[in-house]
């Protein structure tokens, strides 16, 4: 059987995944601000309310803590809520419900209750949005033990990862790269397929250097790998996909092979996933490292306003500088 493919943007792939899963599993409910009648401010939930009704596609009051709190209540009662938090800066309203409840209900009840919920939200800068709309919060959620954290980097893996996230028995933070919502189209199978959580993807094999990233920064990472190739540096490109629990094996194996690693992310440098990967490389690869594991990241500052956001975000130039540096050891 040949898979039927369609050209989709990332937002269309998300929409397609939600349509498929709501059709397949009547326990799935979508909820949030403007997700019903309007179909979401980014159009991720368009058409869902017409098809599945107001009981399953819910325009909630404007209250993020309330959205997550009631979603937890639904999740411990047999439903599979997929709440949307409209913009990344509004996730902060939800922290108490996420840390104190979503993340630990399974543990508190020794497995009696669990929270099969997927919190969808855009993340990251790059579209000149207003203040509080461009945050990169993945490390904060990784610190909330009990949550899983997933970030797709394109239409294809967005769909497969979201379907896995909804089917996962634990709460998943599904952060969508806002900058890539409409900028790329890929061939996406129209039918159901799942990309397992907890697995990184080696996008390109290489022998000199492992370049590790996720989400919207995969764009710059791939471009830097192309540029490095012209300089005869063979780069292995890894899309981490799941930030927690992450695929340590794939990363370690790649560093074992290349002896060099650079992690690229938009979120702040300190106490980041990049910091963690560097520490793990020290644990496992100490004797075969040829250069220090390097991070190319956002700075340790509040996300800057529109005209300054490019200064904070890693770009190909900065990644190339890091490549030159690690290759010079």
């Amino acid at each position: 059987m040949v898979n039927k493919m369609a050209k989709m943007t990332l937002i269309q792939a998300i929409n397609n995944a939600l349509h498929l899963e709501m059709e397949k599993d009547e326990k799935v409910v979508v909820m949030g601000e403007d997700v019903g009648h309007e179909g979401g401010v980014f159009r991720a939930t368009v058409g869902l309310q017409e098809k599945f009704g107001k009981e399953r596609v819910i325009d909630t009051p404007l209250a993020e803590s309330g959205i997550i709190g009631t979603a937890i209540g639904m999740a411990v009662s047999g439903l599979k809520p997929v709440p949307e938090i409209q913009f990344s800066g509004f996730l902060y309203y939800c922290f108490n419900q996420l840390v104190s409840h979503a993340a630990r209900i399974r543990m508190r009840t020794r497995g009696r209750y669990s929270v099969p919920m997927v919190v969808r939200s855009p993340y990251g800068a790059g579209i000149r949005a207003l203040e509080h709309h461009s945050e990169s919060t993945e490390a904060l959620f990784v610190h909330m033990a009990g949550l899983k954290v997933v970030i797709p980097s394109g239409p294809y893996n967005a769909k497969g990862l979201l379907l896995s996230a909804i089917r996962d028995p634990d709460p998943v933070m599904f952060l969508e790269p806002m900058r890539l919502y409409r900028s790329v189209k890929e061939d996406v199978p129209e039918e159901d397929y799942a990309i397992p959580l907890g697995q990184a993807k080696v996008e390109r094999e290489g022998s000199d250097l492992a370049l590790i990233s996720w989400g919207s920064m995969m764009k710059e990472t791939r471009e830097a790998a192309d540029e490095a190739k012209e300089k005869d540096v063979s780069v292995e490109v890894i899309d981490l996909q799941t930030l927690w629990p992450f695929d340590e094996k794939t990363v370690i194996k790649s560093i074992e092979k290349t002896g060099r690693a650079i992690v690229v992310h938009e979120s702040p440098r300190t106490c980041s996933i990049g910091s963690e990967l560097a520490a793990r490389a020290m644990d496992h690869n100490f004797l075969n490292l040829k250069a220090p594991v390097t991070r190319v990241t956002g700075f340790d500052i509040p996300v800057p306003l529109a005209r300054y956001e490019d200064f904070n975000m890693p770009d190909v130039f900065r990644i190339m500088k890091a490549i030159d540096k690690v290759m010079s050891f």
Partner: protein
């Protein structure tokens, strides 16, 4: 065995100037012609500024913008009842509040041009930069009012938010603190019927937003938010009450945004044309004109002059704002802390170095 009614509350609705220009003489506030002229000019300047930023946004000279047209009476009417030494805590659509408070048009342009300098409030003002996270400014205003009370300062705080904000925890927590502490604060809700696309009926099952105040132990009033006289009167009583130490008031202004939520929104998806036209007929500016005409202030010539002056001021301020913008990358590190920590200084130095190296590399390519 008692089973009896133990609480009964009521909420008043206030309108002084109706759509046809009829005035309730008993309720009419005593405003001088000079005050009326000033208020009208604030409203016209707000509308002129608003239309200008919208056109700039379309040209890519401003970023995402939240237009205010339709709410001029709710904003100027409330802000005009405050003293300069009072404080306001606005939301992102309160351009008319800032203008009436005397914030410069130049600063207001900067606020919407994505510059870090946009939030630098003038030294002689205690007003706050607008809050984007919904309702999050409400506890701040209550805290600031509480601080004024503790420090025995004559300061009333006013906080602005929309109908959607009344669903947030911060609204309930904030106004509860206000009630318990009798804080000198006025809570101004501009109920424009929609939180982006979500109609008011999906925010609360309560008949009015004003009545929420009763549950927190203070007074709430609903006013015709497109009637600048009603808005001003309600605000004036609330401010006087707060100043006397008699606690907070919640004012619900029934109003409408003529335009979209922001420049990224298409309201035709969730509002009917008929409804929009219905509200156009309630235009707060047009209604105020009828009143000013009856007072002998307004005529065609006056209208032309006020608009022309507003336009000139707006154009001049825009020029000043745009020419003042100097983007220094290191600005993103300044003001994070009182003293820049060493790790931040290193990051700043790295960014500077990268900037120089980019320039060099660019030069090489050209050369």
């Amino acid at each position: 065995m008692p089973r009896k009614k133990i609480y009964e509350g009521s909420v008043e609705y206030l309108q002084i100037l109706d759509e046809k220009g009829n005035v309730d003489k008993e309720l009419e506030p005593q405003l001088s012609n000079e005050d009326l002229d000033k208020m009208y000019r604030f409203m016209i300047t707000t509308r002129t500024f608003d239309r200008k930023v919208l056109s700039l946004q379309r040209q890519g000279r401003a970023f995402t913008y939240a237009p205010v047209e339709g709410k001029e009476a709710s904003q100027t009417g409330t802000a005009y009842a405050l003293k300069k030494t009072d404080r306001v805590f606005p939301s992102y659509r309160d351009h008319g509040v800032y203008l009436t408070r005397g914030l410069s048009l130049k600063q207001m342009f900067l606020m919407w041009m994505g510059t870090e300098e946009g939030g630098r409030m003038p030294e002689d003002s205690g007003d706050f930069p607008f809050a984007i996270p919904i309702a999050s400014q409400i506890p701040h205003a209550v805290g600031a009012a509480w601080a004024a009370k503790i420090q025995k300062q004559d300061k009333v705080c006013a906080v602005y938010f929309g109908d959607g904000a009344t669903s947030e925890g911060d609204f309930h927590e904030g106004i509860n603190f206000a009630g318990v502490n009798k804080a000198p604060v006025v809570l101004v809700c501009q109920n424009n019927k929609y939180a982006i696309s979500v109609p008011r009926a999906l925010q609360t099952a309560a008949e009015t937003i004003a009545q929420k105040a009763l549950a927190y132990g203070f007074e709430g009033i609903q006013v015709d938010g497109n009637d600048v006289l009603a808005v001003y009167s309600a605000m004036k009583s609330a401010v006087e009450k707060a100043r006397k130490g008699e606690g907070p008031t919640l004012i619900e202004c029934l109003t409408y945004r003529f335009g979209p939520h922001t420049t990224s929104d298409d309201p035709s998806k969730y509002r009917s044309k008929e409804e929009e036209e219905e509200w156009r007929k309630k235009d707060p500016v047009v209604r105020f004109q009828l009143y000013l005409r009856s007072k002998g202030i307004w005529n065609e010539e006056y209208e032309k002059k006020v608009n022309e002056e507003a336009k000139q001021k707006v154009e001049k301020a825009l020029e000043e704002a745009e020419s003042s913008i100097k983007i220094d990358p290191t600005d993103i590190f300044k003001y994070v802390y009182a003293e820049m920590p060493e790790p931040l200084r290193e990051e700043m130095e790295y960014l500077k170095r990268i900037g120089e190296e980019k320039k060099e590399a660019h030069g090489e390519q050209n050369g």
